[in-house]
Symmetry: C2
Subunit: 414 residues, 2 copies
């Protein structure tokens, strides 16, 4: 536990979310206030930007634009998917990082991302420690997938869940407007954890949800799926809304979506597109009803106009708390959220050893999935509903969002 004086470096990594920039704003606003932090840097494209000595001087930015980052989706500094090799296999990147850290006297390092990014953060942390270079390293959690171990939930999830639930309610009204049948198959992100797909149940809680929900936690069987749809159609005049995770797998553990990659899928149908499109096609063929496949695609992770206020504020707080913890001497940890045992929803940022976060996936508890495997229990609603509360979005300019515009002054061009 050392109180260090020096510059701080922040990087964004992995898939963007609606609120990853809110965490950045949290880090920047708090760091700019700290006396022990001499300079605030934001890495262009995460760890790659540090390796390439491409990072921005945040002290040069307009505070108003930093405030607007709270409501600006995606990763304003640029993101990266870059896996650091193990030091033993190849020390090149590590030595370069140390060189850059020394050159700019970087004594605080904050990295914002999901499982893979926390693996990077963990490796950097352990390497700096082993090198005897004093640098407090804190991970800031982020992922729409909500699959980080140890934390009650992840910044980014609430807003994505709100997007999915709200949009599903609207689609529910739209898709049922004619007195003729229509089966909608909606595909939601999430390769191994079903948290995002489960958010469809929040729309159901408001009476405008999906008839069937399929998470990757439960092995997917096409024949059962067709039977499920058939059952709903029989009751509801051939109207059915099914929401499937892109990550649904057969009982053999193979992604159902993988069968769509080639021109012919496992059922012999010509194919292109996601698992939703494939399943809609099978329904059409087997049941002879009209179908429509819908993918929430990038919109579910960047739909900041539908961000949850709770999520925006917690994401900011996760970043700000990381800085406060580091300045207080904490290192080698990740910020996590602890739900407080109170009547009203209350969340507290605490710390967890970072190696616990790296590469571990938290999935939806099986006992939160209803017996038929196509719905979520009240426990899930109670868990998720507080996370989607309130609106928080960019101010309008000409009727459109006014997102943050950063100057992005490069450190070596200052």
């Amino acid at each position: 536990m050392k109180n260090l004086v020096g510059a701080c470096m922040f990087g964004q990594s992995g898939g963007p979310t609606s609120v990853i920039n809110s965490s950045a704003a949290g880090v920047f606003c708090e760091a700019l206030k700290q006396k022990n932090i001499t300079e605030v840097y934001g890495a262009a494209h995460g760890i790659k930007g540090i390796l390439n000595e491409e990072f921005y001087v945040i002290n040069e930015e307009d505070p108003k634009e930093l405030e607007l980052m709270k409501y600006t989706p995606s990763s304003a500094l640029g993101s990266v998917r870059y896996k650091l090799k193990n030091y033993e296999d190849d020390p090149t990147d590590y030595n370069r990082l140390l060189e850059v850290f020394k050159k700019y006297n970087i004594r605080y390092f904050f990295y914002n991302g999901g499982n893979d990014s926390m693996d990077t953060c963990n490796k950097v942390s352990k390497f700096m420690k082993n090198s005897g270079y004093d640098c407090n390293v804190i991970g800031v959690p982020k992922t729409i997938d909500n699959d980080l171990y140890g934390t009650d939930h992840c910044p980014g999830y609430g807003s994505a869940a709100k997007y999915i639930a709200t949009t599903l309610m609207e689609i529910n009204l739209d898709a049922k407007v004619y007195d003729t049948g229509l089966v909608c198959v909606i595909e939601v992100m999430g390769r191994n954890a079903g948290w995002l797909t489960a958010a469809a149940a929040l729309a159901g809680y408001k009476g405008l949800g999906a008839d069937l929900i399929y998470l990757p936690e439960i092995p997917f069987d096409v024949d059962k799926f067709i039977n499920d749809v058939k059952g709903v159609c029989a009751k509801n005049g051939n109207k059915c809304i099914a929401v499937v995770s892109e990550g649904i797998k057969t009982k053999e553990g193979k992604y159902v979506g993988e069968f769509t990659a080639s021109s012919t899928d496992l059922f012999g149908h010509a194919q292109l597109g996601g698992v939703g499109a494939m399943l809609a096609n099978i329904v059409k063929e087997k049941l002879g009803v009209k179908t429509r496949a819908i993918e929430f695609s990038l919109m579910q992770r960047c739909g900041a106009h539908l961000a949850s206020k709770v999520d925006v504020e917690e994401a900011f707080e996760a970043g700000a708390a990381a800085v406060r913890f580091a300045v207080d001497g904490e290192t080698d940890k990740m910020v996590i959220f602890e739900r407080q045992p109170s009547k009203d929803y209350k969340m507290k940022p605490v710390l967890m050893p970072i190696e616990q976060a790296a590469n571990t996936e938290k999935t939806v508890p099986l006992n939160w999935i209803t017996d038929n495997g196509t719905g979520l229990s009240q426990e899930f609603i109670d868990y998720a509903l507080p996370l989607i509360q309130g609106d928080a979005k960019a101010p309008l300019e000409d009727g459109l969002p006014r997102f943050a515009k950063l100057k992005k002054v490069l450190v070596n061009k200052k």
Copy 2:
């Protein structure tokens, strides 16, 4: 011009929009205030509901729920696609309509929809006139496609345009987040008119739009498209966003999307899905870059959480004005919007003979499309920007929209 006393009937027809219920609210709220209107009915599934004597007694509804209809997407009464035959070919439906109109003393008929619906409205109007049955008939315009003849624009367009522009801005930030290449092909609705696709230019006006925009007004050439994408990629590190209308056609007039319906398209690729997916696939194959196809699907027409305040209010006013005109003795007309020659945007509802609206399509003026055929001029921005101003959405309940809940008391079950 007769001042009639009797019941009024309102029906919703064609594809839903974010604000068709706002027009319904306008009709209902105004009709309930009028002394000459004895009863207010809403047809279940448009003209079909009248033929089947299935319509709701709006007088029974809670005024608060009627107010919430302004912010509730889709068609709350149910919609229909039903083409009335010509009277000379088959008078059955017409005779049945007259029977129902007489039974309930329906003296006002309002029909809300696009080209096809106005054809229905026109036929009903002419038939009632020829039958000597006094009934004032007024069409209320509606279509996200914005392709109705005679009116400056259509209720529904502004909100869909706002959805497209806002979402495109967010996708722009998301898709360019890595320092690796990505070509996004986004498919937007609109079979013959490019108004919706053109809305992408509003995002471009804010600096976060598409690199290339393809409207159905300009014949589509796949080789030119690939060359256009290649040119953008060369300049922007293989990053490119192209927005295409679902209705783009070859110079022979065949929908490009039609080639995707079979398992093999005209280029010999295995296919399923829309024209966007097909084009993304061709880009991937020809240019060897990463691609992503995105469809705005139903969301663009039912995304009421992103509705334009101007659109919501104008849609309401179109309905209310229709009632006022009819009570004043007008008939056989459709409400249209006339843009007033003032510095600030101002719109006035006026009337047009309904036969002019039926089955005519208004497309984007060719001189508003830039010379390269992939962009829109400032004239379009000046035209469209006032239509997307302001936010107007349903209040939140549990963090999700509280949409209208109608009692829907059927007339013969009252």
